[in-house]
């Protein structure tokens, strides 16, 4: 449904996206993750035709963006990272405008927008100016506008950033329903790994390249046996020992525990060194044991180049 071949975008000689081969199948929810500046927004803008690629091609629903941009865009609903609707138009006027310019036949927009407003729960605010909506409501309106012309592909650039957890939950329910009921294909970028976990497939971008791709489960499998959980005290001692132990590639805090990413070749000796080191310095280890890797662990390992 979404395909790219050797897609590339450079600004001057600074590459933002390099050699991107992407294939998102109908009905998938594809999550793009990666550190800031990895090229997620650029990729999405290339996919919807807001930017022109410097290399390669994009195809949406079988239509080449380069050759027939208007036809390809007809299939796309796009939610940009920053609110990009008219804040001096009401909720309903925004819907009407984008329904009509996206080619919904005259009059049809009314039924459709009532449907969509009910779907995203904005019915009571139909007559409110967009500038008077909360951040979460603005995102829901953006989703409604992206959906109003019944696209087959939905491109969402960090749709839940800055939105409260409850609204985020609502938002995901909506997306899952869309895929189920309207058979829409979704590609979204997100900084949240718990969201990435909900995707059918996840792609990791680093410095403009797709470095890894797979289902959340298969990605977590990559780190099987390499992640250990540690809790203990005092903190300074443990941090010092960890930084001196070769074989500990990274240590991330999750609440009162640390997740350690270990070098597979020095796993056993690293564990022994940590235990001895902490004892020697008068610290205490409460718990040290292997855990199921989280997508976060994979994300960090990929971002730092440990995978």
């Amino acid at each position: 449904m979404i395909r790219t071949w050797k897609l590339g975008k450079s600004y001057g000689n600074r590459p933002a996206v390099v050699d991107l081969d992407l294939e998102v199948r109908p009905g998938e929810i594809y999550g793009l993750v990666g550190p800031d500046g990895a090229g997620k927004t650029t990729t999405i803008r290339l996919l919807c035709g807001a930017l022109r690629p410097t290399a390669g091609q994009v195809e949406i629903a079988g239509v080449a963006m380069e050759r027939s941009p208007e036809e390809a865009r007809r299939h796309v609903g796009y939610l940009s990272q920053h609110f990009s609707l008219y804040d001096d138009l009401t909720v309903e006027e925004n819907l009407q405008f984008f329904a009509e310019v996206r080619g919904l036949p005259g009059g049809a927009w009314h039924k459709r927008s009532a449907e969509i407003l009910a779907f995203v729960g904005l019915e009571p605010f139909a007559g409110r100016l967009a500038r008077h909506l909360s951040v979460g409501m603005k995102q829901k309106l953006s989703l409604a506008v992206a959906l109003v012309a019944q696209p087959r592909v939905l491109l969402l650039d960090e749709p839940t950033t800055g939105v409260d957890p409850l609204t985020r939950q609502d938002f995901w329910q909506l997306i899952i329903r869309l895929v189920g009921e309207e058979h829409i294909t979704v590609l979204l970028s997100t900084p949240y790994m718990d969201e990435a976990t909900r995707c059918t497939r996840v792609g990791f971008l680093r410095e403009g390249r797709l470095v890894m791709e797979g289902t959340p489960r298969s990605l977590r499998q990559l780190l099987a046996g390499r992640v250990m959980e540690l809790s203990g005290a005092p903190d300074e001692v443990i941090q010092r020992v960890l930084s001196q132990t070769t074989g500990v590639l990274s240590a991330q805090r999750f609440g009162d525990r640390l997740h350690l990413l270990l070098d597979p070749h020095h796993r056993q000796e690293a564990v022994e060194k940590i235990i001895r080191g902490v004892e020697a310095e008068g610290g205490q280890i409460v718990h040290l044991g292997e855990v199921e890797p989280l997508l976060e662990d994979v994300f960090i390992a990929l971002s730092e180049g440990f995978l």
């Binding site: 600004y11 803008r45 919807c48 035709g49 807001a50 930017l51 022109r52 208007e70 036809e71 865009r73 007809r74 796309v76 796009y78 940009s80 920053h82 609110f83 990009s84 609707l85 008219y86 804040d87 001096d88 138009l89 006027e93 009407q96 405008f97 984008f98 009509e100 310019v101 996206r102 080619g103 036949p105 005259g106 506008v145």
Partner: protein, 377 residues
């Protein structure tokens, strides 16, 4: 077939205009404010120049001479002083713009058939006022001296058949009262069209970019020409409204006669608009923020107003500026609008200007349309 996408875009633009008080004020109030300011304040008709008089003769003859000044509209005899210094200090303090000294013995010289002299002192710092005052003083003095001459001839018995050897009979065409307002107001239409349409189109397009709404607009199936047309059309409507607004106010409040065809005027205004909207579109392709768009518009429009002949006659400019003025589209439109409104001329008299405007319209709009990109980069 009605293009629903285009209609929708235009309607959206109008909703935004109506909801933005600043745009509304700029669109509908600004032209009237400018009209009244220019119509009343920026007039070159110098009247009621304040005059300080030192009459050292204090005779019936000197009073008669002063009456000649009093009856002309040009001077107001505000001060009667007793020394030359007082005249200077009145002029220094801007209370009087000119002074006149009638020396002692004026009446004796006049009645004695000799040459009588009066002195006229003038504040030259404002050339417009000074040149009018000078011309008026000379004229009144000459007329008066002609009358004195005729009386002398009469007295010596030669006056019966006295005719002046030469008389210039003037006839002022088109604007017989030589009212500045009649000349300024049709020109105002050109100036307002140029300024408003360029500014409004440039800022309205840049605003989409500044607020990020362009991102959503780009990914719609709207075609490039539809986006351009949808953005420009509302301002064409506003421009026609403003033209009629200025014209009606001009007729109502300043009695400007519309001697030519209103239809022709509106048609050629449309031609002129293609150029000004094109300039706005061009500016929008180089400016990133509304403020930049506004400054760029000022930078483009203000010099063109000075070089268009709106305030200052082109014929009086240095040759080099006259050549540059050929590149100013407003120059041609001013000739057209003044020609139609004041002289009542038809296409036959102004076709060179129409041709020039057509070339501008074609070049500017084509250039702007080519530069306008329906993408973020």
């Amino acid at each position: 077939m009605v293009n629903l996408r285009l209609v929708s875009l235009i309607r959206k633009e109008f909703i935004q205009i109506v909801r933005d008080p600043r745009t509304l004020a700029l669109t509908f109030v600004f032209p009237l404010v400018m009209l009244f300011l220019l119509g009343y304040a920026a007039t070159n008709d110098v009247k009621n120049i304040s005059l300080a008089v030192l009459d050292q003769d204090r005779s019936a003859e000197s009073r008669r001479f002063l009456d000649a000044f009093r009856t002309a509209d040009y001077f107001h005899l505000d001060f009667f002083v007793s020394s030359e210094e007082e005249i200077r200090s009145l002029i220094d303090s801007n209370q009087a713009r000119a002074g006149m000294i009638i020396p002692p013995g004026y009446a004796d010289h006049l009645t004695g058939g000799r040459n009588a002299q009066v002195a006229f002192i003038l504040d030259g710092s404002d050339p417009t006022v000074a040149s009018t005052a000078l011309a008026a003083a000379n004229l009144i003095g000459q007329a008066y001296s002609t009358r004195v001459l005729a009386m002398r001839m009469n007295r010596v018995g030669q006056g019966s058949g006295l005719d002046m050897p030469l008389e210039v009979r003037t006839q002022v065409l088109y604007n017989p009262g030589m009212e500045s307002a009649h000349y300024m107001i049709p020109g105002m239409i050109g100036m307002i069209l140029q300024f408003l349409t360029t500014l409004l189109t440039a800022t309205s397009i840049v605003r989409e970019r500044e607020r990020g709404t362009i991102e959503q607009l780009i990914v719609t199936p709207l075609r490039r020409w539809e986006m351009i047309l949808g953005k420009l059309a509302p301002y064409v409507f506003i421009a026609f409204f403003d033209t009629l607004e200025v014209l009606s106010a001009g007729v109502l409040f300043f009695k400007v006669p519309i001697n030519g065809s209103l239809g022709l005027l509106l048609g050629l205004a449309a031609l002129f608009l293609v150029t000004t909207l094109g300039i706005g579109l061009l500016i929008s392709t180089v400016a990133h923020t509304q403020q930049e768009a506004m400054l760029t518009t000022m930078f483009t429009v203000l010099p063109s107003i000075f070089l268009s002949g709106f305030f200052f006659p082109l014929a009086a400019m240095p040759r080099i500026l006259q050549w540059i003025s050929y590149l100013v589209p407003l120059r041609y439109f001013l000739i057209i609008v003044r020609g139609i409104v004041l002289k009542g001329v038809g296409l036959a008299a102004i076709w060179p200007e129409v041709l020039a405007l057509s070339v501008f319209a074609l070049v500017v709009m084509t250039g702007a349309a080519i530069r306008y990109r329906k993408r973020l980069d």
